[in-house]
Symmetry: none
Subunit: 218 residues, 2 copies
Amino acid sequence: MKTMGLHDLALVAPKAFPHADATARAAGADDLLVSARISEDLNSAIADCQYVVGASARTRAGRWPILDPRTAAETIVARLPAEQCAIVMGPEQSGLTNADLARCHALVNIPTAPEYRSLNIAMAVQVLCYELRMAALARASSEPLSQPAHHEAPPATAEEIEGFQVQLENALVESGFLHPSHPTELKRKLRRLFLRAGLDRKEINILRGAIASLGKKP
Amino acid sequence: MKTMGLHDLALVAPKAFPHADATARAAGADDLLVSARISEDLNSAIADCQYVVGASARTRAGRWPILDPRTAAETIVARLPAEQCAIVMGPEQSGLTNADLARCHALVNIPTAPEYRSLNIAMAVQVLCYELRMAALARASSEPLSQPAHHEAPPATAEEIEGFQVQLENALVESGFLHPSHPTELKRKLRRLFLRAGLDRKEINILRGAIASLGKKP
C-alpha cells in the first residue's frame, strides 16, 4: 500500500493485532499498521464511505457490476476527493461473504488465468493498489510515465548522417565488401538500419572514428 | 506468474536450486519451478530473445528508454508471438548491474510513491505479470490499427547481437580505436546505438561481413 501512495488501512476483527510478525514484515511501512483503524465488523469499517468496491473471484456479472482492476481504480479515483471510497478484501481462504458483498456498490475481479486462479491476498492488494496509483498519476498530471531515451548530444542532422554513410560506403567499396558498380541494395539496407537507430551527433562521430580506425592500413 | 498465465521462468545463477522453501511457497505453481531454465549468466538466459526489458528503479530517461509497466506490457504483447521477449528482474537488494542493463532494449519502472519506494521483487513481478495479462486480454479482443515496420528477416536474438558486438569490439581493440584496458564507456555507447536500431538477422550478417571486410589486412 505504502509503495503505491496509499495510507488508510482498516482491519476488520483481526485475529491478533498488533502482532510482531506483521510489524516485522511491514519493514519501513509499519506506520501504516500503527495508524490502522480497527473495527469490529465491516459495517463500522466502511461507515463513512460513499463508494465501496469488493474484491471477488467472480467473473460473471450477477447482482453486482463486476469491474476489472483498471476500471475499478479509474472509477474510484474519479470520485475522489469528493467521496470517501473503499476497497474491501476478504480473508485469504474464504473471501467475502454474501453479507459483505451486500455492502458493496460493485465488485472488482483480477483476471487470473483459468488454469490457476489462486492469487493470494497480498498479490491481489498489490495489483489493486498499483491500479489506484496509475489512475491517480494519470489524473494528477499530463506528464507521461514512459519516457524516450535521453540523448547525450543533439540528434544528427541529415547532412551529418549522409557524411557518415558516404564514409562507410567508401570504406566498404575500398575493402571489397561493396561492389563498386552495383552496391545499391546493400547500401540501402545499411542506410535503413542506421536511420532506425536515431543517431545523435556524438554517436555519428564515434562511428566515423571506428570506421576510419578499422579501414586504416597497418 | 502462473495466475497471470505466464510459464517461462529462467533463473540466472540461483544460490540454491531446487530449494524446499521455494517449492513449498510455490504451492500449486511448483510446475513452473520444475520447468524453470537455469542459466550461468544473463547472456545465456536471454540468448534466444529478441526484445529484452529490464526492471529498474530509474525514473528519469537516461541512455535507455523508460517505460511504465502498462506501456512495457503492451510493447511486449504487440511483439508476440513473432518475437521472443523477456523481462529481466534484478536481485532483491542490488537490482540489475550496468552490464545487465546493457543487454536491455528498454527499462520498465513501476511508479512507486516518492516517500516509500521499496517495492519488493515479488510484488514487482506480480505487477508486471498482471500488466502482461491485461495487455494479452486486450489484444485477444481487438485488432490494433498501427503496425510496426516490416522486417525482411526475423529480429536478431540476444545471442546474435552479442556475437556481432564482440566481433566489433575485438576489431576495434585490434585497430587501436578501443583501448583494451578501459574500453567500457565507448563499448556501451556502441551497444546502445545498435540495440536501438532493432536489427534483424540479415542486418547482423551484413554488419558482420562489413566489419570483417574493413578489418582484414590488405
